[in-house]
């Protein structure tokens, strides 16, 4: 039920923006979004540790080397 509530909240915002004429389409989009995280390209990569290691091998910390002492 929580999922439905969250999606409905987002859906209602969209409905207000595009008008009642398109509300049926928006509800349909929301229904498909309930499984979107699982099927999206984001998750494909972010569940694959080996791929992340490969893609982030050059990543460096943004903290300055001059930083010292406690925060």
């Amino acid at each position: 039920m929580d999922i439905v509530r969250i999606q409905m909240a987002r859906t209602l915002r969209a409905i207000a923006a595009i008008g009642t004429a398109l509300s049926g389409l928006v509800v349909a989009c929301a229904a498909s979004a309930a499984t979107a995280a699982e099927t999206s390209g984001c998750v494909t990569c972010h569940l694959d540790e080996a791929m992340l290691v490969k893609n982030l091998s050059g990543a460096t910390a943004k903290k300055s080397a001059m930083q010292s002492g406690a925060g």
């Binding site: 929580d2 999922i3 509530r5 969250i6 999606q7 909240a9 987002r10 915002r13 979004a33 309930a34 499984t35 979107a36 995280a37 699982e38 999206s40 390209g41 984001c42 998750v43 494909t44 990569c45 972010h46 569940l47 540790e49 992340l52 290691v53 893609n55 982030l56 091998s57 990543a59 910390a61 943004k62 903290k63 300055s64 080397a65 001059m66 930083q67 010292s68 002492g69 406690a70 925060g71």
Partner: protein, 641 residues
């Protein structure tokens, strides 16, 4: 807390997908293009921190009431900083002050995500539990990731004994600081965080103490802040220097930290529930040139705000040294903030905080004296900077610098040799079958001999924090050194005493160490198991409280936990932040409150044998007759038991 590896910061767990938040499309919070598997295209328009950049959109649809106030909470807005800075700043240079504030002070603020799903931005981010949202903030990865150096270290016993609320009743941060406080909107222009009505107070739980059975509560309540009697020493910071490096990345440098406890006059009795006269005060690292990178003479009214500010150290104990007997506090001028404690530029700022001689409570005439026997203290095991300065180069005194080589090369006590116990081969490596244990005596004696040390030298060891120097002293005692001493306060104490450092390296050539090994100083896990439960044996676990609670574990330990029947006494209880020691009387009294007395057999343990070795040496210094190190420590114990 070590930063996460880059991939670990953004690695989802499959568990997340079955949670409420996991059912949402990623792009509904973060934007980006989920249809693309190309990194750059997929991240076009991506927002890594939506709850910071747009909390209403990211969280407000479902958590509207919380977001409405939380976005203006102290964590979200740091709203007291502009007020404090404005009070100190020159009005016509506010733009430069504000630029510095935004680059440095504001880097600490956090929002929904930094408390409920990731490590905060200040702690270099990264998912906790693979992006599974946590209703209750994680005290290690979230709260103390930012509030670490003071609150976290104090609470979990990385400095001092730790906090009784953590150790005895396993309370975490949220137990005292619930959502009601965390999500409360801070009124605009709030003069300080203690003015927030929703702030946690001791009396929220400890009600009506003045009517209870504790006589001293009835006497002191209303006059003295609770922490004055119930806190341990805490760290005071000096000189926060800020700027940007060659890449334009903002940084700060905290130049000096001093562990101490000071009582000041309450200059802000208007704060809710703070009508008392005396309170603990902590030095904050402000100074007039703090923002000079952005402009000169920005703080023309520096004296408008104290630099010794009300403190609420998170290291509460029921019994403390200053409250052990009336005259540990009454008449103890050193405990109360004096003009002499102030730097030249902050006299005006703290005029209402300094306790004049006439306001230091007078000694109590009839009071029960503490009976502490210090006659067994082995005073020769600790020397101070003045003694060492007078004895440098005399007799058989040899000075050893136990810091790493880079620190030694930057400046060391003249004539000191470099011997870093962490890299010298005294212990097996982390990947050994029995990791981190002492190698055999012949090998240790060989290392010491090649460093130019002999067993009958008077070997004085120092470092910066005490941790490695004292561990080396324990090795020296085990290996047969007959006269070894710790330099109280280490290199900082040396500088504080006004003595100079040298950059000229020293060496002594190879000698034969010729020590007689002292096997009675070390016990293995099998022997320790036979000692557990014996009435005259105390096993002291010198690790921080979060290890004992099982909230963290050493990377080489098989599991989290502690040896059954051991008493947790974090090393910080024996050794102060800068490697300085409290008086033997105070240490012996503190140990006695925990049932640890010199007549008992004491076995010290920790994760890898290092802190246990420190505790071993310090207990021997205090006159304990039978002290032994559990050298295999938790890393090995946890593998087999």
């Amino acid at each position: 807390m070590a930063p996460l590896e880059p991939q670990a910061k953004v690695l989802l767990s499959r568990d997340f997908l079955s949670t409420t938040h996991g059912a949402l499309a990623c792009e509904s919070c973060h934007g980006g293009n989920p249809a693309s598997l190309d990194k750059a295209t997929a991240h076009a328009g991506f927002d890594p921190a939506p709850s910071i950049n747009n909390p209403r959109k990211a969280c407000g649809d479902c958590h509207a009431e919380i977001v409405a106030t939380a976005k203006d909470s102290l964590h979200g807005s740091l709203s007291t900083f502009p007020r404090v800075l404005a009070n100190r700043a020159s009005k016509d240079r506010w733009g430069q002050v504000e630029e510095a504030r935004a680059n440095h002070c504001a880097a600490c603020h956090t929002s929904c995500g930094g408390c409920h799903v990731s490590r905060p931005r200040f702690a270099q981010k990264g998912f906790i539990q693979g992006h599974v949202f946590q209703k209750r903030s994680d005290p290690i990865n979230q709260c103390t990731a930012c509030h670490g150096s003071r609150v976290g270290s104090e609470f979990y016993g990385e400095r001092g004994q730790g906090d009784v609320h953590a150790a005895k009743v396993t309370m975490d941060c949220v137990a005292c600081h619930p959502a009601k406080e965390m999500h409360a909107a801070a009124p605009r222009d709030l003069p300080g965080r203690y003015r927030l009505d929703e702030l946690a107070r001791c009396t929220d739980c400890h009600k009506d103490l003045q009517y209870g059975s504790v006589r001293d509560h009835a006497i002191h309540i209303g006059k003295v802040q609770c922490q004055v009697c119930h806190s341990q020493t805490y760290v005071n910071c000096y000189g926060c220097h800020v700027g940007k490096d060659a890449e334009g990345t903002a940084f700060f440098q905290n130049r000096r930290e001093v562990e101490a406890l000071k009582i000041g006059l309450n200059h802000d009795a208007k704060s809710p529930g703070a009508g008392y006269r005396y309170m603990l005060v902590r030095h904050v690292p402000s100074y007039p040139e703090m923002f000079d990178f952005y402009g000169k003479d920005l703080f023309t009214s520096f004296g408008a705000v104290p630099t010794w500010k009300r403190a609420s150290p998170h290291n509460i104990q029921r019994r403390t040294w200053q409250a052990a007997t009336c005259n540990n506090c009454h008449g103890n001028r050193a405990l109360f903030l004096a003009s002499a404690d102030l730097l030249d530029f902050e006299k005006q700022a703290n005029r209402n905080v300094v306790v004049p001689d006439g306001k230091v409570p007078k000694p109590v005439k009839k009071t029960q004296a503490l009976s502490i026997d210090t006659s067994r203290v082995r005073t020769g095991m600790v020397v101070d900077a003045r003694w060492l300065h007078e004895n440098l180069g005399k007799g058989n005194v040899v000075v050893v610098d136990a810091r790493d080589r880079a620190a030694y090369d930057k400046g060391h006590i003249d004539g000191a040799i470099s011997l870093d116990p962490l890299t010298s081969g005294f212990r097996t490596g982390g990947d050994a079958e029995r990791p981190f244990v002492l190698v055999d005596h012949a090998e240790v004696a060989g290392i010491l001999g090649r460093a130019g040390l002999a067993a009958d030298d008077h070997i004085v060891v120092y470092d910066r924090s005490g941790l490695t120097a004292i561990a080396l002293l324990a090795v020296l005692e085990w290996a047969g050194g007959t006269h070894v001493s710790y330099l109280d306060g280490g290199i900082e104490g040396w500088h504080e005493a006004g003595f100079h450092a040298s950059t000229v390296p020293s060496s002594r050539g190879t000698r034969a160490f010729k020590g007689t090994v002292q096997p009675r100083f070390v016990v293995d896990s099998g022997t320790l198991a036979t000692l557990l439960g014996k009435p005259n044996v105390v096993v002291i676990d010198a690790r921080a409280i979060h290890r004992i609670l099982g909230e963290t574990r050493h990377v080489k330990a098989s599991r989290a936990g502690a040896i059954p029947g051991s008493i947790n006494l974090p090393l910080g209880a024996l050794l102060m932040d800068n490697g300085a020691l409290k008086s033997p009387a105070e240490l012996l009294w503190m140990l006695r409150t925990r049932g640890i007395t010199p007549d008992r057999t004491v076995v010290t343990t920790c994760d890898t044998g290092l802190a246990a070795a420190d505790a071993f040496f310090l207990l021997r210094y205090l006159g304990f007759q039978d002290v032994r190190v559990h050298d295999e420590a938790w890393v090995n114990w946890s593998k087999t038991r």
